[in-house]
């Protein structure tokens, strides 16, 4: 099983590198971080994308929290 690395900026507070199987989607990365996609908007390599989009090795994900308090 080939693993790939995805670099995640979690709400501007924390930077994580997440390992997922090749062919995974963003939703799988969110799952690993215990995050609900209803509460997150994701930009992949700077572009806003749906959570069902696929990830490739070395991709950068910026996670934006919907729950920000206004």
């Amino acid at each position: 099983m080939t693993l790939i690395k995805v670099h995640v900026n979690v709400f501007g507070r924390e930077r994580r590198t997440v390992e997922v199987k090749k062919g995974s989607r963003i939703i799988d990365v969110l799952e690993k971080l215990s995050l609900n996609p209803v509460e997150i908007v994701v930009a992949k390599n700077g572009e806003v994308v749906p959570e069902d989009d696929f990830v490739s090795d070395g991709d950068r994900l910026d996670l934006y929290s919907v729950v920000s308090g206004g």
Binding site: V41, P50, Y64, V67
Partner: protein
């Protein structure tokens, strides 16, 4: 990219999955879909009339930045004018960053913003108020004090600046959460009061409108990002104290399992508002606060009651506001 990952309208690269209609939309078609629903809400509920002066309550967060942008965009077509009112509660490490973002967006789209602060108008910041509340046993949570003080100042400012309507960025998530909270509290009059436009007017109350009533919170953030309406990565430090926080998480987990849940909850809220609205609004006889003269459901309005609780002097506020 997977073939199934395509905009439902043009087949282009999608920016968002709109789960409750089981479709992906590209940037262009999502922006159009978003704006069309806001415009429909404004027209269907007659939120804004030609010639109105609309004050948008703006915080610098994603909801209010999107609101300001959309209201400005429709202003020519619908024939109204719009400006923003910001309230600086005095939350260190939070509000100053949001206000900077707001100023930038307002300049970009050409809308005037007026700001009023808790410290200049009430004599203390929210941070200071919370310290006092904590010493007194934390009987009132930060969001209660903040919400009452903020709404009071927004109404006062909107009135003094000549607004006919006060628009807020309340979205579908807010409406669904508030409805559930009111159900849990057994607050039928509050349930009946919630509506896209406030009813049962008073000469000192500016009519409040909610153009984002049918827009999920995730979409207001997506809209802000796609429109380049930058808001900083900061979270209100008091959000964890809000009882709404738990309801929000629960509702979002339900939404994940069954997309469209929030719409169903909001539909119930709207139905209650339709059925009981007129009855409760006509029954609710507004009194005048004995300290400040503001309309109130009791002898002392909540803003004056909180000021007394915090050791401040209640009474009329001579509004201090300035353009930013």
């Amino acid at each position: 990219m997977d073939k199934t990952l395509a905009c439902a309208i043009c087949g282009g690269k999608p920016a968002i999955k709109v789960s409750y209609i089981d479709s992906y939309l590209c940037k262009e078609h999502f922006l159009e879909y978003f704006e069309r629903r806001v415009l429909s809400t404004i027209k269907y509920f007659n939120l804004i009339e030609e010639g109105d002066v609309v004050a948008a309550a703006v915080s610098g967060g994603k909801d209010s930045l999107s609101l300001l942008y959309v209201l400005k965009k429709f202003s020519e077509e619908l024939g109204y004018t719009v400006f923003g009112i910001a309230v600086d509660e005095g939350i260190q490490g939070y509000r100053e960053y949001k206000l900077k973002a707001l100023k930038k967006v307002a300049e970009k789209i050409g809308v005037k913003i007026f700001a009023a602060s808790f410290s200049e108008n009430y004599g203390l910041t929210l941070d200071e108020a919370i310290k006092i509340a904590m010493r007194k046993g934390f009987e009132y949570k930060p969001c209660s004090i903040c919400g009452v003080f903020r709404r009071y100042l927004l109404n006062l400012a909107a009135k003094e600046l000549g607004a006919d309507k006060l628009a807020t960025g309340h979205n579908l998530d807010d409406e669904a959460q508030v409805f559930l909270m009111n159900v849990l509290r057994g607050g039928v009059p509050n349930i009946a009061r919630e509506y896209p436009i406030s009813r049962g007017g008073h000469e000192k109350l500016v009519t409040r409108i909610k153009p984002f009533y049918f827009i999920p919170e995730k979409e207001t953030l997506t809209y802000a990002l796609l429109r380049g309406l930058d808001t900083p990565f900061v979270e209100c430090p008091y959000v964890k104290y809000s009882i709404r926080h738990g309801i929000r998480r629960w509702l979002n987990s339900r939404e994940r399992e069954q997309p469209g849940t929030k719409y169903k909850v909001a539909a119930s809220s709207l139905l209650y508002g339709e059925i009981f609205g007129k009855t409760y609004v006509s029954m609710a006889s507004l009194q005048t606060c004995k300290y400040c003269g503001a309309p109130s459901t009791s002898e002392i309005c909540r803003a004056c009651a909180f000021r007394i609780y915090l050791g401040l002097t209640p009474g009329t506020i001579k509004l201090k506001i300035h353009e930013i």
